[in-house]
């Protein structure tokens, strides 16, 4: 069967995206070829994101166009609370609950000996210094409820054992496979209000 080689390549690349199977890849490819204005918008967006979105040097969350993100730069965020999450996008989910004054720290993963994720592969080398320098009083661990997250939380609690901070945990997200992103702001707000102190 003949098919333009560039189209074939596009389909192969689309299939690398999460949740896109062969059939969806074809559908999207045909759509983009038909609607060139959408195609060009997407090309522009991709280039822009590629150029501008980086990771913040302080919290390891998303930053845009600079080394430091607006959350880390925001001096009004002085509640003394540092919220630890797994992925950069998790910051937005916690933020959607409409909190004020929190800062964040993105681990960039969860402990998993099976997958070869050792403690030194997480963004924790600077965590203790951050807590000291920025004078945090409370640490909120906001991870998905799964076994790797629980072990990671145990590790963090141990790591911060001797520091003068209150540590609490939020049980947000749905168990197993479900993502923190699936939760609505109200549910998150409720679980933040009822956060369980663990140290």
């Amino acid at each position: 069967m003949w098919i333009p080689s560039s189209l074939k390549k596009l389909i192969e690349n689309l299939r690398k995206l999460p949740g896109i199977g062969e059939r969806s890849a074809y559908r999207i490819a045909y759509f983009l070829i038909k609607y060139r204005d959408v195609l060009n918008d997407i090309v522009d967006s991709l280039e822009e994101v590629d150029e501008n979105v980086t990771l913040c040097k302080i919290c390891h969350g998303f930053a845009e166009g600079k080394d430091i993100c607006p959350i880390c730069e925001d001096e009004r965020r002085d509640a003394g609370i540092l919220c630890i999450v797994e992925k950069p996008e998790d910051v937005f989910i916690v933020e959607s609950a409409g909190l004020h004054g929190w800062k964040y720290h993105v681990l960039g993963g969860l402990l998993s000996p099976v997958k070869g994720v050792t403690p030194d592969k997480l963004n924790i080398f600077d965590l203790r210094d951050r807590i000291k320098n920025e004078n945090f009083k409370e640490i909120v661990i906001a991870l998905n409820p799964n076994i790797e997250a629980e072990a990671t939380a145990n590790y963090l609690i141990d790591l911060l054992e001797d520091m003068n901070v209150v540590i609490s945990k939020i049980a947000i997200g749905l168990p197993q496979g479900a993502d923190i992103a699936l939760l609505d702001p109200y549910t998150i707000k409720e679980s933040i209000k009822g956060r369980r102190r663990v140290k």
Binding site: V114, N146, I147, A151, N154, Y155, D158, Q176
Partner: protein, 337 residues
Amino acid sequence: MLKTLSLTFFRNFENRVFEFQGGLNIIIGKNGSGKTNLLESIAYLSFPRSFRGVLDSDLVMWGEDFFRIEGLYQDDVEHMIKCFYSSHNRVKKIHVNEKKVDRLSKLFFLFPTLVSTDRDQDIVDGPPEKRRSLFDKLISLVDMHYYRTLIDYRKAIENKNVLLKEKRLEEVKYWNREIEKLSTYIITKRTEFLKEITMTFDLKSGVLLNGKKADIRYFKKIDIEEGILDSKLEEELEFGFSIYGPHRDRFEFYIEGRPAKAAASEAEKRMMLLSLYFAFMERFEKDKDKKPVLILDEPLSILDDERIEALLGQLESQVFITTPRWSLQYEANLIEL
């Protein structure tokens, strides 16, 4: 109950329709006529994998490239369950009332079945893993949370084993803490389940074993308390993997106070397992409001007349039984292959 079944290119059935009744269905046929195949197709509608542990492609009639099983199951309303498998592109498609089923486990709760074959004897006297996984399966079927906990538990043990193997002792305790929490839950549920089924198990086994007393005992590898696993670290390190916890617990069958492995006859072993199934069915019904359909592959050949009477007298739900011959004056739907 399963009312009708239609098979296309399934094993030795090119194209055949069966009608069943609510109570006892007796499938009669010579050796190799397809009795077990028929049971296999019924069970497939409930749990779409061969209970004989073969690949889907082995279920396709030789020389063909797909099979289809269609069953009409009735509880309050009728459900048409359709399973289709193509060996050509290895796709399995399952529909209930023309709607695609995404999660295969959903089928079981729509059409629950229990299968007993002559391999049941191995469960009673084989290695402990077989009994443990049977109990884990039964408890999971009445308790979704138990199932999820088991998955988490297995993941945690896998991770811990990597740490033990690589001798990363510092990190083990973070997993041990979780393993202890999960263990406590698993042990509690196992104990509860055994307690819940004991009365029916005693009753059924009393009848099926002609008055002999059978029981099931649960042996914990270790009593869980906080920090106990950390204290076993050195020992586990020597083994190079985790040896303490409910993944090493044992369930054992006893007859007249002796281990069944040593003391029970073949028929007695099978009757003990059947008693467990009967007890489970009752427990399942209490929760889910329907009784699993019982599928028995040649249970009669090893039984004497009295035991056969006893067994048939215990049947309550819809039952499928295969046998090479049938001469009993029992009200049953006879299906000759």
